[in-house]
Amino acid sequence: MAIRRADFPLPDLDEPLTAPFFAAAARRELRIPRCDRCAAFVWYPQPACPRCGDVPGWVTVSGRGALFSWAVVRRAFLPAFEAMVPFVSGLVAIDEDPSVRVVSYVVDAEPGSLYAGMPVVADFRPLAFPTVPGREVVVPVFRPLDAPTGAGGGPR
């Protein structure tokens, strides 16, 4: 059961279920799978729409959403996170369908300034861990909608 993949906990870009999410992020787009027939998002991604069985396509969304909840992680639960703590990991309900919650880092905001429902927008930053030298993956993160774009650094 142990994860043997050498680049863990970076995302596995070869995982077909989630590869389009990261391919889109590399183009600075937030994409979410949606069933064309049901016009409903299928999140988390599944091979088939749970309602009708169709294969969902991926659609680009605005990247805007509302902060639903979050944790300020102070203890590194994996060695990869030791240099990163403290950081904010949160759930963002996307504007197109608030039942779709995207998990990511909340950046460019003091933890104490966060509040439920806070408008946020996706930004795209390279994610790298010291435990996985030489590798980085561009991922969506969220920053306050009214905050200026950060200096373009990592999730911190």
């Binding site: 059961m1 142990a2 994860i3 863990f8 906990p9 970076l10 995302p11 596995d12 995982e15 279920l17 989630t18 999410f21 990261f22 999140w43 988390y44 991604p45 639903f68 909840s69 979050w70 944790a71 300020v72 992680v73 102070r74 203890r75 639960f77 994996l78 996170f81 990163m84 950081f87 990991s89 949160g90 759930l91 039942s99 779709v100 919650r101 995207v102 998990v103 990511s104 880092y105 933890p111 439920a116 994610l127 993956v137 991922v139």
Partner: protein
């Protein structure tokens, strides 16, 4: 709002069977023992407590998810070879609450007469060698491995910190209210010499001063990691009355499922558990109301999970558990709702619910360390993220 999960229809087995034997190993930090060894010891003690011999056991429910103590392990340990009716849908977690239902059906259908349910765990030992633990199962799932773990939303303390914060946002729950759950559990553990945290008193100030792992979740909101195991024997009610121990009669069983499984991030009712679906079914089968419950044990990996289940099982309105648990509410001696009277996963041992059911049996027998006077109805609330279970045990009349 209540369509985010469901409850399967379970056959009514009220009063048909009873738990007649319980067995426990020592509950410890890393012991160096395997789960299989621990399971065998618990089984041996439960069978002896029931006044039975290993060859009398003709049914075995165990955890297919953990696969530590199956029929082969049973026969190897006891040197037996007789036919065993078995089901891998027993063991601990939510299944510690539903195994008696499996046993009741097997007994009704004549497949078995005495059914043993066993659950051992050696996560403290395994964690020391980095070969197992609660996070691993989750990290292996594709969606979680790629859409949660890389974003620091892992493992369980981070999930439940996020759920805690949402409970605070929606209902105004305070740190002191979460702390009341932890302090009550520790108070009970200090009355129970078997508890891992026996002899380690804790005050609300200790709770508030404990390290924050993932704000708002503190170390003392969190369960232990332990080695240990327990087992119990279920048999038909008539047979139960011939055996030496007072029967703990199975009066009601319920099961509930979340439509989003263990993907907590996507569960629509984010601050609820599938007890919403499970508890009403079990209470209805037993013909009781929440107010009839003398002692409640719930699967308590984090304090917020206790608060949510207390609400979802109907002991107080949704969102009000914070205020409900303040003061002496949860105490075994005079509280409105004596709760996790052995100390729970927080302060007794992290053996994933099996000791909670054993504690309910002890309360019905009148032999618990922190005994609730005159206890006649004891309820276990099981929780496994995607699933909840409810087991109602009553004194034989």
């Amino acid at each position: 709002m209540d369509d985010w999960g469901h409850a399967p229809d379970l056959e009514d087995v009220a009063g048909e069977v009873a738990i007649v034997g319980i067995g426990e190993t020592a509950y410890t930090k890393a012991s160096g023992r395997t789960a299989r060894e621990i399971g065998a010891e618990a089984a041996e003690r439960a069978i002896a407590d029931a006044g039975l011999e290993p060859r009398d056991i003709d049914g075995l429910t165990w955890s297919g998810a953990f696969a530590d103590f199956d029929a082969a392990a049973f026969h190897e340990h006891f040197g037996t070879s007789h036919d065993l009716w078995t089901s891998p849908w027993g063991g601990g977690m939510a299944w510690a609450g539903t195994a008696p239902h499996l046993a009741a059906l097997a007994i009704r259908e004549g497949r078995a007469r005495h059914v043993l349910n066993v659950f051992p765990v050696a996560w403290a030992t395994q964690r020391a060698s980095m070969t197992g633990g609660p996070g691993e199962v989750h990290a292996a799932q594709a969606a979680k491995q790629n859409l949660e773990v890389p974003f620091g939303w892992f493992p369980q303390p981070v999930y439940f910190a996020t759920i805690m914060r949402r409970h605070m946002i929606e209902f105004g729950t305070t740190p002191e209210q979460f702390g009341a759950v932890a302090v009550a559990a520790r108070r009970h553990a200090n009355l129970n010499p078997d508890a891992v945290m026996h002899g380690r008193p804790m005050t609300i100030d200790d709770y508030l001063a404990s390290p924050v792992l993932a704000d708002p979740l503190r170390l003392l909101d969190s369960c232990l990691i332990s080695d240990g195991g327990a087992a119990y024997v279920t048999t038909g009610i008539d047979r139960a009355r011939d055996l030496p121990r007072p029967p703990a009669v199975v009066a009601g069983v319920g099961e509930g499922y979340s439509g989003t499984g263990t993907n907590w991030a996507q569960q629509r009712a984010f601050t609820s558990t599938p007890q919403v679906f499970s508890a009403p079914r079990a209470f209805s089968m037993a013909g009781i109301a929440p107010a009839d419950v003398d002692v409640l044990t719930v699967y308590d990996p984090f304090t917020v999970v206790s608060l949510m289940q207390i609400e979802d099982m109907g002991f107080c309105p949704k969102g009000e558990a914070g205020a409900f648990v303040e003061g002496a509410t949860l105490h075994h001696d005079g509280g409105v709702l004596p709760f996790n009277t052995h100390g729970g996963l927080l302060s007794h041992a992290y053996v994933l619910g099996i000791a909670h059911v054993v504690e309910c049996v002890k309360q019905i027998r009148g032999t618990a360390a922190a005994q609730v006077p005159g206890c006649e109805v004891a309820v276990y609330g099981g929780y496994t993220g995607h699933m909840a279970s409810t087991l109602v045990l009553v004194k034989d009349r």
